[in-house]
Every structure is written in C-alpha cells, then in structure tokens.
C-alpha cells in the first residue's frame, strides 16, 4: 500500500522511464534506503570524533531503524522505537553529552593502533555474522504474499497474558504459547527500581570537600593536576563520607 502510494508519487517519469518502474519492488527500495541510512549513520557514529556529532548520527541511525521496523510489519515496535528509544533514551544521552561536553572532552581521539585493532576485530565479527546470516536457506526466500495484521492489539493482549495472534506455520500444533504478563510486571518493577536508583545515584550530594569538577573549573591548571585533584577529592570522598 505504501509502495503504491510512493510509486504514484514519483514525478520523475523521465528517469523512471529508463527504469522498469512497474517492476520496481518499492518494499525493497525503501528497505535499501532505510538500511543505508541506518548503516551509514552507525558507521558514522564509530568514525566521528566529536561526541555531539556522534549523538546526532546515532539519532539518525535509530530513526532509520524505526523505519525498518515499519517496513517489516512491526509498526507498534517501530512506533515505540521512535517514542521511547529515540525520543527518550537518546534525548537522555544528549543531555548527558551536553552536561559533559567540556572543551577537552568533546573530541577525544584514540590511538591509531587501537583503531586498527578495533577495525580488524569488527571486521572479523562482521564476517562471522554475515556468513551466519546467509547460511540459512529459508532466510533468503521471502513470503511476499503474506498480509500482516496490525500488531498493536495482539501485542497489548499478549502483555496482558492473552495470546490472540495466529500461531505461526511450522510450530507444533499443540504448543502452548505463553502470555507476557509476568515479564510485563517485572519490567514495570524494574523500571521503578531503575528510576529510584538513577535518582539516588544522581542526587545532589552535600560535599565537605569541593567537587573535583569545581576544583578543576576554578583552577586554571592543566588536565593532569585536575585529574590528581579529582583523585584526591574522590578518595577523601570515598573514605570520609559526604
């Protein structure tokens, strides 16, 4: 449906006349688009030095991922991705970036050797994952004829413990499909705990000695002395309580 909409929205017939437009699989095209954005931005996160830029590329990557979710028929998940992940988590991350993006920390470069090593390791991991991806024969053959039902209601019902979705083909007929009520509850408690924990960790602490960051900010010394001052105040903090 979307594809037909998009197809109809293409004005560049000239360009398209060269292409067999009618034979274009718009699903695949959009997939390529979103995939490219996601991958490129992910790689850009890695390659960027500036943490602010890293944050931006990350946002783009995750947004493209949400698009991928939509294309795969998991629109609820995609929506959640955009709302929670991009809109919440990454915003939080951006806040963190903003809080800590002092001059010397904005762009910390790693050594070349580390980068080469990381690149090699990454390449090896990628190779492993890729070959695993292409090994399974059924994964390469899609079932385009399927029509997906909207997933929101089944998901919600599943979270309440009732499975209303159709069993998948190939599953044993008498298999019991469990609901997700318990994980739901657990996750809610978990989120509560995290909330409390994060609030506690990030609370304003009454200090006997000035914070290292304040010391560093007040003095004009280089980073090294600030670091040592930080160490000393940290150890005093740890040993003396606050």
């Amino acid at each position: 449906m979307i594809m037909s909409l998009l197809a109809s929205a293409l004005p560049m017939s000239g360009l398209l006349a060269a292409l067999p437009v009618a034979a274009v699989n718009w699903h695949s095209v959009l997939f390529l688009l979103f995939a490219a954005v996601a991958c490129a931005c992910a790689v850009a996160v890695v390659l960027a030095d500036n943490v602010v830029r890293m944050a931006f590329y990350l946002v783009l990557s995750l947004a493209a991922t949400a698009g991928l979710f939509f294309l795969a028929g998991a629109e609820f998940v995609g929506a959640m991705q955009l709302m929670i992940y991009v809109g919440g988590t990454l915003v939080l991350l951006v806040f963190g970036v903003m809080l800590t993006a002092q001059a010397p920390f904005v762009a910390i470069k790693t050594s070349t050797g580390d980068r080469v090593l990381a690149g090699m390791v990454g390449a090896a991991l990628l190779a492993v994952l890729l070959q695993a991806a292409f090994r399974v024969e059924p994964w390469r053959r899609p079932a385009m004829a399927a029509v997906a039902a909207p997933a929101a209601t089944p998901i919600g019902m599943a979270l309440l413990g009732v499975r209303v979705d159709e069993p998948v083909a190939g599953a044993p007929p008498a298999a019991v499909r469990s609901g997700y009520l318990l994980p739901f509850e657990i996750v809610s408690v978990h989120l509560l705990v995290v909330l409390v924990g994060a609030a506690y960790l990030a609370r304003a602490k009454r200090r006997r000695t000035p914070r290292a960051i304040d010391v560093a900010a007040s003095s004009v010394g280089p980073v090294v002395t600030a670091r040592e001052a930080a160490r000393s105040s940290a150890s005093a903090l740890v040993s003396g309580g606050q």
Binding site: T110, D114, L117, A118, V121, G122, A124, L125, V128, A132
Partner: protein, 824 residues
C-alpha cells in the same frame, strides 16, 4: 625335738642372725645413733646371738655325743660312739638312730675302725632345682667339726666386733685420709663410714657360717664367692687409697683364678657322679630311693669305707665301652645294666676313672689354694693388710683363709693319696717361702700376714700327709692365736700410728697388756710348752703335725723332705715371731717421738685380747674326762680315713699312714723333741740378734746381701706375675682397644662419614632440585599470574575488545566443529 632337727634349727638360726644384722644396717645404718654409732652394737648383738646359738648347739651335741678320750697308746680304734648313718631331713622331718654314746666299745684294732662312721646330720632346707638325679639345694651337713667351727668362728668374730667398735671410732666423724693425695695436692676429706664396716662384717659372718654349714659343694661354692666379695669390700674399705683398691682387686682376682680350678673339680664330680652332696639323701633318687652322696660313692660301706674310684667315674672314663654295651643290649636294657655292673670291678682294677678322681680332688684343692693363699696364689694376702686391722684379724687370719683348709678337711674322704701328696707339697712350698719372707719384713702386719700364709701351709701339709685331725686342730688353735696377734698389732698400730717395726721398741713399758697378750700369742704360735707335760695350744697342734709328717716320711722315704720342711718351718716361725716381739716391745725405743706418745689401748680393745689369749693358752688342753679339741675332732673323722691308705698311681707307691699311728711312742717322742729344739733355737737366735744385740742384724743382712734382698723383695713374685700375666694381658688389652679404636671405630666412623656425605648430597638434591622445582613452579605460577594481571588493566575498551575477540573465536571454533560433525 630330736637332735636331727634341733641342730639344723640352732645352727641355721646362728647362720642367719648376721644376715638380719646386715639387712638392718644396710637399710638403717646411718640412722642408728649418732653417725651410725649403734650399728656396731647391732652387728655385735647379732654375732653374739650366733655365738649363743652355736654354744647351745655345741652343748646339745655334747649331750648326745659326749667327747671321750681317744686312747693313743694302743692300736685301738677311735672309740667314738657308733653313730648311725645319717638320715637326712627333707622339710624338717627326720629320724636318726641314736648312737651308743661313749660305751667303751673297743672295736678290734685293724680293720674295724675303718667301719666307724662319724655322727653326722644332713638335710636340705630348700631345693632350688631337681631334675632326675640332679639336685641343687640349700642344706646342711652337721658333724662335730661343724659345731666346733661354728663356736670358734662366732667367738672370734664376737671378739673382733667388740674390738672394732673401738678401733673404728675414727669413722664416726669426717675423716681426713692422709694417704690419699688429690690432684690439687691436698688430702681427701670424706664422711665417715662406720655403719658400712659392720654391714660388711655381718655379711662376711653370714657367708663364712654358710660355708661351714653347707651340705653340698654347690652351696659351698656360692658362699665361697660371697666370702670373696666381702673380703674384697673389707680390704678396699679405704677405697680412695689406690693401694687399698688395688689390693682388693688383687685379692678377688687371684681368688678367682683358684675358683676356676674349683669349677673344674665341681664339673668332674657332677658330670661323673651326678651329685654334689656330701652325704646321702633318702628318698631323693629318681625312683625314690636314697640318693648317695659323695662320701658314700667314693668310700662305700660295702668295702669297709676304703677309698675307691666310684662307679660313676669308672663308667664315665670308659664311656665308649659302656655305650657299646648299652647299644648291644638296646632291646634288653636290664641285661645291659647288669653286664655293666659286673664289669665295673674289672674296669676299676684296670685303672679307669683314676684320672677323673685325681682331677676332681686337685680341682677342689685349687679353690683352696686361692682362698687359703697357698703357693702360687698367695700374693694377695700380704696386700690384704691394706684393710683395717680388725678385718685382717677376722678375715685374713682366722676365718676366710681357714675356709680352704676347712674344705680340704671336709672333702678329705674323696682325696686320693696322689691328691694328698700334691696338697702336702704345695703346703710345704708355701710354708717355706712365706716363712723366709717374714724373716726380713719390717711392717708388723706384713710379718703376721706371711706368718699366716706359712701356718696355712703347715695345715695343708698336715692334711696332705694324712693328719686330718692334726691339720684341723692346728686350724682352730691358729685361729685363736693369729687373731690375737693381729688384734695386738692393731693395738700397737693404734698407739704408734705406724706399722714400721723399725720405729718401735720398748713399748712393753707403756703397753703392758698388749705386750703380755702378744707374748702369749707368740708363744702359742711357736708351740711353746714343757715337752710331754703341758703346753700352749700351738704346742699340741704343732706336735701333732710334726708327728704325722715324721710318720709319713718314714712310710714314704722319698718324700722325707716334707718332714724337714716342717721342722725348718718351726725354726723359722720361732725366729721371726720373736724377732717381731723383741723389735716391738723389748729394748730401747728407736723413735722417741712415737714412744712418748704411745699409750695402752682402751678397755674395749684390751678385753678381747685377754679373752683370746686365754683361749690361746687353753685351747689345746684335754680335760681329764677326755673333753678336748682333739677328741672332739675325732668324732667327726670321716669314715674310712682312720686307716692307712696306699696307692700307686701318679707318684709311685704312696702310703698315707693312719693318724693314730703317729701317736705311738717313737714317732711322738721324736716329733716333740724336734719341735722343742727347733723352737728354742729360733727364739735363741732371735734374742741374740734383737734382744741382746750380740749379732747385728745389719751385719747379717750385709753378709748375705743377695739372699737378703731376694727375701726383702718377697722372692720377686709380684714382679714375676706382673711380667708373666699382667703385662701380656695389658698388651692384649691395648691391642684389642687399639683395634677397636683404629679399625672398628674407623670403619664405623667411615660408614657414618659416607652416610653423612650421601645425606649431604641428598640434601643438596632436595634443596636445589626438588625444592628448586617446587619453588620454580611456584615462581613460574606467580610470574604467570603477574603477567596475567596485566590483562586486568581496568580499561573498559580493552575488556570489550576481549569479549568480542572471544565471541568470534568461539563462534569460529563451534562452526568448525559443527561443520565437521555435519559433514561427517
């Protein structure tokens, strides 16, 4: 209670009383009064008890066996009561036939007196071991000799205990011994040992009485050795003095040499005869019959108690023939025994077993040679004077040395004429050597010691020439006057603080009692008396010996040297005894310092002197009723020894004349006159040299310088023994010790050294290799850990890297495995 159980009880208690005193003083000595002063009274009380019991036994004996006169001037027999065969008592049960006491049963002369068996009681108190015919037991053999010896020994011991309680008063407080030189030059200070002296004296009395009462040779041997030990202790009483301890060792070792011969004799008897008992033991044989003792084996009643080689020795000597017969008649042992029994007489006449009997006799005599200080084992007795004077008086003059003579007298029935000749010759040699040495000795106790040796030689010679009663008579009288002489010399030494006669002189004025009693002793020892009338005790005994020696030399003319030895000995004895007396008591004092300080001894020392001198005078007398030592001894004469013995074995034809023959007129007269003249001559010469100073002793000594020095050096016997025995033994000992040190110790040390080297090597291996390996492992592990620690850098990125690498690697590995599994 009848005599057979009364006598053992009395004499047994008398024997054990000193043992009680010994044990009491052993445990409580130092607590008996101040410094143990009362130990003397305990010991004296014990020995007085013994004396009392011995006298009671003596009295009991006399009531049963009164002493009657033995008629000398007829050929008649010794007319003692016919005593029955002794019946032995096992466990105090006994029965004996009462003898007809003192009836004038004149037996026929000639062979009849050979049939007289002395009254004797024997039995066993305790059987230690019985196996077949073999029996070891503690028992008694009591005859007149035993009873008499008990009285003599306990009486002399009592006198000496009293004397010693005064003499040894130095030991009641701490003693400074001036004859012991310590390494720092000072003299030894030591606490007194008063109780120990009486402890040892008590033990000695117990042992000596044990020898007297013993009923078998094994018991004799036990107490023989015990007496030796007591003597060792008493001689070495002042053991811190090197001379005293050496003398004690010398005495004991020399005695042991003699005991070696005694053991051979014991073995010969036991091996061949199977018994060591003197008398028969009823119901003790293998089948319950009477087990014969030595006396009846050697002098069986069937042959009139004549000496013959016993059956056991004949069979032992002819053992091959006996076993051949036994084997022939193996199936009929009764026939075999009969044949052997019938052939024994023939074998005996062929001479089988005579050597064994000779060996047995000489062997037992060897023990007596050691104990009674005969040649060649007399060298210990003069050195034994290192002990205190009471010890010399009791042990080494009257009792212990008499034990040898006593044993010869007890064992007399078993001795053949050849053995008796050996005894006589040894006695003669001894008497001569010792008398000559005493001529030139200057130490008063040494003179008396050599005199003792010489007199013991007299006794042995007397026994050897057949004078059984003469020898034992002399033993008793000698005990009295010799102990008297020693006690007097002790008194003199106590007064003068020196033993050297050259420093004495003129002491008769200040010590009249000592001088007088010593004179009595000297007269007794020389046999002084009015011939044919009366005399001191020594007169009678010496007379008897001379008579018997004369009789023997007449019967065996080739051995008449024995008579001349006795006569010469009498002369020498008189000379040196009166030399001693004159030098000590007569004339002017040679050392005024000593003479001024000399004083008479206290009463506690003088009273025993007087008592003994009385006995020295009267001991030889025979009362009108016949009571006297000589007749008492005749009661104990062993069966068959009253007859003349003849034999011809090793030393040609020997005749041992019967003792009563020497009491006949001609021999008796000759002997008496000889004795008188030789004694008088000796006294005269001594007076000329030492009293009237007509002949100067120094001149005589210088004229006969070589002889004088030879005698003064005691015939160089000590040097001779030193060269022959002591030096080689030391050489062997040093060789052995050198081997032990140089070879054996080196070997052991070498083994130890190599073991240590090996151990060191092993230790090196253990320390460096084994420990090194372990330590290296630990160090390697530690270092590995240190190296691995570097992995934990704390750097997050690195950890992530490792996670990834690990994941990839795992995945690759797993895929490879799965691929292999799937492909295969």
């Amino acid at each position: 209670m009848d005599l057979a159980s009364q006598l053992p009880m009395l004499l047994g208690l008398a024997w054990l009383a000193p043992l009680v005193s010994f044990v009491a003083i052993l445990f409580f000595g130092p607590r008996m009064g101040h410094h143990g002063k009362n130990a003397a009274w305990v010991a004296t009380a014990a020995i007085v008890t013994s004396l009392g019991l011995s006298l009671a036994a003596f009295g009991t004996w006399l009531t049963a066996h009164p002493v009657t006169a033995v008629s000398h001037d007829s050929h008649g027999a010794a007319v003692d009561g016919h005593a029955a065969d002794s019946h032995d008592a096992q466990e105090h049960e006994s029965h004996e036939h009462e003898a007809n006491a003192g009836h004038g049963d004149h037996a026929d002369h000639g062979g009849q007196h050979a049939a007289v068996v002395p009254a004797a009681y024997s039995g066993d108190w305790y059987t230690l071991y019985q196996g077949g015919s073999l029996r070891l037991s503690i028992g008694w053999y009591i005859d007149a000799l035993t009873v008499m010896m008990f009285v003599v020994v306990t009486f002399i011991a009592t006198c000496i205990h009293v004397y010693a309680s005064g003499y040894m008063h130095d030991e009641l407080h701490d003693v400074t011994d001036h004859e012991v030189h310590l390494s720092d030059g000072g003299h030894l200070h030591r606490p007194g040992r008063f109780p120990r002296f009486f402890q040892a004296l008590s033990l000695f009395c117990f042992s000596m009485l044990g020898i007297l009462i013993a009923g078998n040779l094994a018991m004799v041997f036990i107490f023989w050795e015990l007496v030796g030990i007591c003597s060792w202790f008493l001689i070495g009483f002042y053991f811190e003095r090197k001379s005293a301890s050496t003398a004690a060792n010398k005495a004991f070792i020399v005695n042991r040499v003699g005991d070696f011969g005694m053991l051979i004799g014991l073995m010969a008897l036991w091996g061949a005869l199977g018994t060591l008992h003197f008398a028969d033991t009823p119901a003790a044989g293998p089948a319950g019959q009477t087990a014969p003792g030595l006396f009846s084996l050697v002098r069986p009643a069937e042959s009139g108690h004549a000496l013959q080689v016993p059956d056991g020795m004949v069979k032992f000597a002819n053992a091959s023939e006996v076993s051949r017969i036994a084997v022939e008649n193996a199936s009929r042992p009764g026939d075999g025994a009969n044949e052997i029994a019938s052939r024994i007489r023939d074998w005996r006449s062929q001479g089988y077993g005579r050597w064994l009997l000779f060996i047995a006799g000489v062997g037992i005599f060897c023990g007596c040679v050691g104990k009674s200080a005969q040649f060649p084992l007399f060298v210990w007795l003069p050195d034994a004077m290192e002990g205190p004077t009471p010890v010399s008086a009791l042990v080494h003059s009257a009792t212990m040395v008499a034990a040898g003579v006593y044993l010869v007298g007890r064992f007399y029935p078993v001795l053949t004429p050849d053995v008796l000749l050996v005894i006589a010759v040894i006695g003669g040699i001894t008497l001569f050597i010792a008398a000559t040495i005493a001529l030139v000795a200057n130490d008063i106790k040494r003179v008396l010691a050599y005199s003792t040796v010489s007199q013991l030689g007299y006794m042995m010679l007397a026994l050897g020439v057949g004078g059984w009663s003469a020898g034992l008579f002399h033993l008793v009288t000698h005990a009295f006057f010799k102990s008297l002489l020693f006690l007097c010399s002790g008194s003199v030494i106590h007064a003068c603080h020196t033993n050297d006669m050259r420093k004495m002189g003129g002491l008769a004025r200040v010590m009249p009692w000592t001088a007088g009693t010593m004179l009595v002793g000297c007269l007794a020892i020389i046999g002084a008396g009015i011939p044919f009338v009366i005399g001191l005790s020594g007169y009678y005994s010496k007379d008897a010996i001379l008579a018997q020696a004369l009789s023997y030399s007449q019967a065996n003319p080739s051995w008449s040297i024995l008579f001349y030895a006795v006569a010469g000995g009498a002369f020498l004895t008189a000379f040196y005894m009166f030399r001693l007396w004159f030098m000590t008591f007569a004339g002017t004092p040679r050392d005024h310092h000593i003479a001024d300080h000399a004083h008479e001894s206290p009463n506690v020392m003088v009273v025993p002197l007087v008592a003994l001198s009385v006995l020295a005078i009267v001991a030889g007398w025979t009362l009108p009723g016949g009571f006297g030592l000589a007749n008492l001894l005749e009661q104990a004469r062993p069966a068959g020894t009253a007859a003349t013995m003849s034999d011809s074995f090793l030393f040609g034809n020997l005749t041992v004349p019967a003792e009563h023959l020497s009491h006949e007129g001609a021999i008796h007269v000759t002997a008496t006159l000889t004795a008188f003249t030789t004694a008088a001559a000796g006294v005269l010469l001594a007076a000329m040299m030492y009293l009237w100073r007509i002949i100067s002793p120094e001149m005589v000594a210088s004229v006969f310088r070589p002889i004088y020095s030879f005698l003064a050096n005691r015939w160089y016997f000590d040097e001779l023994y030193n060269a022959i025995f002591v030096r080689p033994v030391f050489a062997v000992a040093s060789l052995a010790s050198g081997t032990d040190r140089g070879v054996i110790d080196r070997l052991i040390d070498g083994i130890a050294w190599s073991a240590r080297q090996l151990a060191g090597f092993d230790a090196w291996i253990d320390r460096n290799l084994v420990d090194g390996l372990v330590n290296a492992t630990a160090t390697a592990t530690w270092n590995a850990g240190l190296e691995l620690k570097k992995l934990q850098t704390g750097r997050l990125r690195q950890y992530v890297m490792f996670i990834v690498i690990g994941t990839v690697a795992l995945f690759v590995l797993a895929s490879m495995l799965f691929r292999a599994a799937l492909a295969g």
